[in-house]
């Protein structure tokens, strides 16, 4: 491999690719060629850096310069100024929102300071389509160690000792899951990677697959060795074309390099991986539904037990793990369980990747050690609330999670604390909300998603969620009653208690947590017909301030439904019965006399 003096890393994740990052890389390359520097400086299209808010990202190594919001036309300046003359292009550097100063390198950016990247260790660092780069970062050393130095039981023991828990949502201890699968004997066993990422806004699995696909192949091979499976399947949604492409490339390279296939590392252990494409049903992230979908059956869950470890894919013992869980495996094997289990809290070890979103300054993908507080995540990594507005709530765990408030901000994040607070880790969605978010509307939003994604098999989820959605709709339209709130509470409790699978059992969480933490807001909607966030359109009223209105008639002339009355030069009024809240009057008023209340 040629040695380069410098590397220019260009984000090749789905987000930055959509903002022309491939063209940026091409322009950088052609500029280097023009200057005769193509043997000195290498341009690499990497996986996601996580700081999607400011993409496309270009990083210069070894000085760790972090350029944000780069455009193809900036390529020339980067080469001429930074690469040739050694002067950083200041205007492309990240600007600290508080100090209003450029930050010269990634290390000093608030977004990265508190992060600890284990699962994302190679994302944004290596070329995911080059197995050589993965190997150069100790890739496939872990599987070599397992196969040549460890017994399957030792591998399982190491994972158990590490304290790693499933990152897909439930948090089941990974080592224990492997052990159960290893103890069920059969002529054929399977290892399945659950890449059916479906939480709205969450994209950590996609990022890992796009940025570091070999780590998943390596981890699955280790998993296969540990439980005695020779076949691996990745269940991935067809909406992830780039991740699929990178996986296909990685699998082909791994086979070519002999780290996947027959007699790996000279042992008699053989392992190979195939892809299975999902049609993007959220419920297929539930492992039994996922297995049915892979078998060509209707993607709906079945009652457990039997667990997949007993009877899974084609009725054979099957171990299903999530992408992020797998991404932790090779490094645990290499650095040892005792390295890993020192990170995190007592019962939640290691790190967790979150998709930070909402009304927050730094939107993106972050990886933090377990035990970090929500406050640190929101204010230090996330850079605080957008526009200097007031924090109101943070939703974790996607449609299965709940909304936490100010009082939870100093709670250390781990599986058990989040559940105790009425939410859950889920797959790592984290949506921050300010005072302009209506909590009833937020609950409704998540429920709409669950209703859409319910498989319809069990009555509590099929009908119950629909009824809850109807009640929430009624409330947000100002037609709710206190009896509706009682029904909502009872229904939410019963659905949680009776639904067939994890999707149904957790679907009431957004409602239950908002009922608990924002009860007053529900009551306001019902009794005062008011939405304090101003988000529920039906509850808003357009009002003309009589002391400000001069009677210019501009509003009345432009109102499409003739809802505004008033004589010339006398203050006008709005007939709220007729008003359709289109906003035309506010737009036309030159005196700021009209407001929404």
């Amino acid at each position: 491999m040629a040695k380069y003096k410098m590397h220019i890393l260009v984000c090749g994740g789905t987000g930055c690719t959509a903002s022309q990052s491939v063209e940026i890389a091409d322009r950088l390359k052609s500029n280097l060629l023009d200057k005769g520097l193509d043997k000195e400086v290498q341009v690499i299209l990497t996986g996601c850096f996580g700081f999607c808010e400011k993409g496309p990202i270009v990083k210069i190594m070894p000085d760790n310069t972090f350029y944000t919001e780069v455009k193809p036309e900036d390529a020339q300046e980067i080469i001429e100024e930074h690469i040739i003359k050694g002067r950083k292009v200041a205007r492309l550097l990240y600007t600290d929102p508080e100090k209003k100063e450029h930050v010269a390198d990634a290390k000093h950016m608030g977004f990265y300071k508190k992060q600890l990247r284990i699962a994302l260790r190679n994302c944004g660092f290596i070329d995911p389509e080059n197995i050589g780069e993965y190997i150069a970062c100790d890739g496939y050393a872990a599987v070599a160690k397992c196969l040549t130095e460890m017994t399957p039981q030792q591998v399982i023991d190491e994972i158990k000792l590490s304290g790693l828990r499933g990152r897909g949502g439930g948090g089941f201890p990974t080592g224990m899951k492997w052990e159960i699968a290893s103890k069920n004997h059969a002529d054929q066993k399977y290892v399945v990677c659950n890449a059916d990422e479906g939480d709205p806004g969450a994209f950590m699995d996609r990022s890992i697959l796009e940025g570091d696909p070999h780590s998943i192949i390596e981890a699955m091979t280790i998993n296969g060795y540990a439980i005695g499976a020779t076949k691996g399947l990745v269940y991935i949604r067809a909406e992830y074309p780039l991740a699929i492409h990178r996986l296909q490339v990685a699998i082909a390279q791994a086979r070519e390099y002999g780290v996947l296939g027959e007699n790996l590392f000279g042992t008699d252990f053989s392992f190979d991986i195939e892809l299975r494409y999902g049609a993007g049903a959220f419920v297929c992230g539930e492992e039994t539904a996922l297995i049915h979908s892979m078998e060509g059956k209707r993607g709906e869950p079945t009652f457990k037990p039997p667990f997949p470890a007993q009877s899974g894919y084609l009725q054979k013992p099957t171990n299903v793990n999530n992408v992020e869980t797998y991404a932790n495996i090779p490094i645990i094997i290499l650095k040892g369980a005792n390295w890993f289990n020192k990170i995190g809290t007592e019962k939640s070890k290691g790190t967790k990747v979150f998709a930070l979103a909402g009304q927050i300054n730094n939107v993106g993908l972050i990886e933090v050690p377990m035990g970090i507080t929500l406050r640190e995540v929101i204010y230090e990594i996330g850079g605080g609330i957008k526009g200097g507005r007031q924090f109101k709530a943070v939703q974790t765990g996607g449609p299965s999670g709940g909304c936490l408030t100010e009082k939870h901000l100093d709670t250390p994040i781990d599986y058990d604390n989040l559940i105790a607070a009425g939410s859950m880790m889920g797959s790592g969605g984290m949506v921050v909300m300010d005072e302009t978010s209506c909590m009833v509307a937020i609950a409704k939003f998540y429920l709409e998603f669950t209703c859409e994604e319910s498989c319809g098999k069990c009555s509590p989820c099929r009908i119950g969620n629909k009824r809850m959605l109807e009640i929430l709709d009624k409330i947000t339209k100002g037609n709710g009653t206190m009896e509706d709130l009682e029904n909502l509470k009872n229904l939410a409790g019963v659905i949680k208690d009776t639904a067939l699978c994890g999707l149904g059992q957790t679907s009431p969480n957004p409602i239950l947590s908002t009922l608990t933490n924002f009860w007053d807001e529900y009551v306001e909607h019902v009794q005062d017909k008011k939405c304090r966030a101003g988000a529920c359109k039906s509850l808003m009223q357009y009002v003309i301030d009589q002391s400000v209105c001069v009677g210019c008639t501009a509003c009345a002339r432009n109102c499409p439904v003739n809802a505004i009355q008033g004589e010339k030069k006398t203050p006008h009024t709005i007939n709220t019965e007729l008003c359709i809240k289109c906003g035309t009057c506010i737009e036309k008023c030159k005196f700021n006399a009209i407001s929404i209340q």
């Binding site: 049903a281 209707r298 709906e300 079945t302 009652f303 037990p305 209703c451 859409e452 994604e453 319910s454 498989c455 319809g456 098999k457 069990c458 009555s459 509590p460 989820c461 099929r462 009908i463 119950g464 969620n465 629909k466 009824r467 109807e470 029904n487 009872n490 229904l491 019963v494 949680k496 208690d497 009776t498 639904a499 067939l500 059992q505």
Partner: protein
């Protein structure tokens, strides 16, 4: 057998390892209400999707309530089936189901037989606190079955029955969430699917989402039309099940009362399909012996085994699934259609009336018969040999509509000559009966000797697939029997591959044969009811003076006067049919 100890509602219970809480509780006399759960005991069919969540119970130490139908017992388990938490959840779940169910109980075909109605009543539900949108789906009617999908509660029983018991594969769940329903592939109409119209889905449906096409109105109109001579024929299995609709215990034989009731309703002639069953034996038996004879003479082209063709669900099944074997089944029409052909030709000539002025009504334990009588090949210039086919349930409805006090009716006989029958024809109603009836006659014809031991008990039973070899005076005759289309498929696949050698195979589409037919009173999965009907059928046979079809004097008379010889030219014209390749009829619209 490994056992585990658990406590259900404070009662120490010992259960089999691997058993569900539901079964363990039932055995201990503790009843847990269910809705989607459906079991045909003895027929290896269990539907337990764990979907309705009505049977949820509280298991100490478990976070959520557990479905009793799907949760296995564990050592030391403590279960509460009626705690406040359970009762509230169960009630809410049923209220939810009712909130998405039309409340037209008063005019619903399943009213009185609806398991959801019974459950709501049991739980004392008097109002539904949840009002909202209700599922809507287009109506879909086939000649036999009405799908009113708005009433579907997604119990998936029909799906399980159609796929696992019958292996027909016409029904499965489609769409998601609130829009999820059970439908055909690509949501085609039932007639364009692989549906055989056996109706076992109707039998399993706990609500009114699946029911038979009701033709009682047309029959009443015909009876009241002075220009029409209305003739009724009743199938063997009807007489051992009809009584259930009037409070008689399962297995009560009500042949005489039924004949009397039919006369009160106003049918001009009360005849018996059993007569045609005896006729079927003459035709099918002759055909069988003919094939065996040729086979023994070394004819390589002869098709053996011969397959019975009395069952219309079965005929639909092989026309769709075994189009390569259409020359294997007997060409003999079913008893219903033989009766129709004889009635509209022989009997119409006797009465000196035109076939258009005769209306033939059949009472059948079957819904597929409704389709069968509408098949084009069973019509003459558009006029069907059998005009209307009613189910046993529809007959009960007619009797009730006519205010007939069934229970106090004096027994009456069928009219002659088409009401005369032997014991051989009665057993057509149970699985194995047709082949036993055929054996009784074929033995005597083949050997020329009198059959002393009439009862071929080796052919009887309720095992899904059975086989027996009977001795025709030194010649072993190998016979196969299957009931339930899934069992038929197993047997047929072996025949197709040449793995088994039989001379004849009897197939009935419904479990138990016609006694378990989809037109019979609903048994709600209690297969012991079918077993009692089974016993009654053989009791009726035993009580008959004549027990071999060829001994029926009116059958002899019919051949002498009219038909000539079995499988002769006239018989061939009136009593035999042919089959069609329907594999391509299962349409998929692009």
């Amino acid at each position: 057998m490994e056992t585990v100890n658990l406590i259900i509602d404070g009662k120490a219970v010992q259960a089999e390892k691997g058993q569900t809480i539901l079964k363990a509780a039932r055995k201990a006399g503790i009843s847990i209400p269910t809705l989607c759960y459906y079991e045909l005991n003895g027929q290896k069919l269990e539907n337990k999707p764990g979907g309705c969540r009505v049977c949820v119970v509280e298991v100490e130490g478990r976070k959520n309530l557990a479905p009793a139908c799907a949760t296995e017992v564990m050592e030391g388990m403590v279960v509460h089936t009626h705690s406040l938490r359970v009762v509230n959840a169960r009630r809410t779940v049923v209220e939810l189901i009712l909130s998405d169910h039309p409340s037209d109980c008063l005019s619903c075909s399943k009213s009185g037989n609806c398991e959801l109605q019974t459950l709501a009543q049991k739980l004392g539900i008097r109002e539904i606190p949840f009002q909202g949108e209700q599922s809507k789906y287009r109506p879909d009617n086939s000649p036999s079955i009405i799908r009113d999908v708005d009433k579907c509660i997604m119990c998936r029983r029909c799906e399980t029955v159609c796929n696992e018991l019958q292996t027909v594969g016409a029904l499965s769940a489609v769409n998601r969430g609130f829009e999820a329903v059970v439908a055909t592939a690509f949501e085609q109409d039932l007639v364009k699917s692989s549906c055989t119209m056996c109706g076992q889905c109707v039998m399993a449906c706990p609500v009114g989402a699946l029911s038979e096409v009701n033709q009682t109105r047309q029959v009443i109109q015909a009876i009241n039309n002075p220009e029409k001579t209305v003739i009724v024929q009743t199938a063997p299995a009807v007489r051992v099940a009809l009584g259930e609709e009037f409070g008689y215990p399962a297995g009560t034989i009500v042949t005489g009362q039924m004949a009397a009731a039919l006369r009160r309703i106003g049918f001009d002639y009360v005849f018996d399909t059993d007569f045609a069953a005896d006729l079927t034996i003459m035709e099918e038996g002759t055909e069988l012996l003919g094939r065996i004879q040729k086979f023994m003479e070394g004819d390589k082209n002869v098709k053996l085994p011969i397959l019975t063709s009395c069952c219309p669900g079965w005929v639909n099944f092989f026309e769709t699934n075994y189009p390569d074997m259409l020359d294997v089944p007997s060409t003999a029409k079913s008893p219903q259609q033989m009766f129709g052909a004889i009635a509209k030709n022989y009997w119409a000539e006797k009465l000196k009336i035109k076939r258009e002025d005769m209306v033939v009504v059949s009472i059948m334990p079957c819904v597929a018969k409704k389709y069968e009588c509408q098949r084009e090949e069973f019509k003459v210039d558009g006029n069907p040999d059998v005009d209307f086919s009613l189910t046993t349930r529809e007959l009960a409805e007619l009797i009730k509509q006519f205010n007939i006090d069934f229970n106090s009716l004096e027994e009456e006989d069928f009219d002659m000559p088409l009401g005369a029958s032997t014991g051989a024809s009665v057993i057509f109603g149970a699985t194995g009966g047709v082949i036993e009836a055929a054996a009784r006659t074929a033995y005597e014809v083949f050997t020329g000797k009198t059959l002393e031991k009439v009862d071929f008990t080796e052919l009887r039973g309720l095992e899904g697939v059975r086989e027996a070899t009977i001795d025709f005076n030194g010649t072993p005759i190998h016979l196969g029997i299957a009931h339930g289309l899934g069992n038929a498929r197993k047997l047929l696949d072996k025949v197709r591959k040449g793995e088994v050698q039989y001379h004849a195979i009897e197939v009935m589409a419904c479990p138990g044969g016609c006694i378990g037919g989809a037109g019979q009173p609903y048994h709600h999965g209690d297969f012991s009811i079918v077993e009692k009907r089974f016993e009654a059928i053989y009791k009726e046979d035993l009580g008959k003076e004549l027990r071999k079809s060829h001994e029926n004097p009116y059958i002899k008379q019919l051949y002498d006067e009219y038909l000539g010889t079995p499988c002769g030219e006239k018989s061939h014209h009136l009593l035999h049919t042919h089959y069609f390749d329907k594999s391509k009829q299962v349409e998929v619209e692009a």
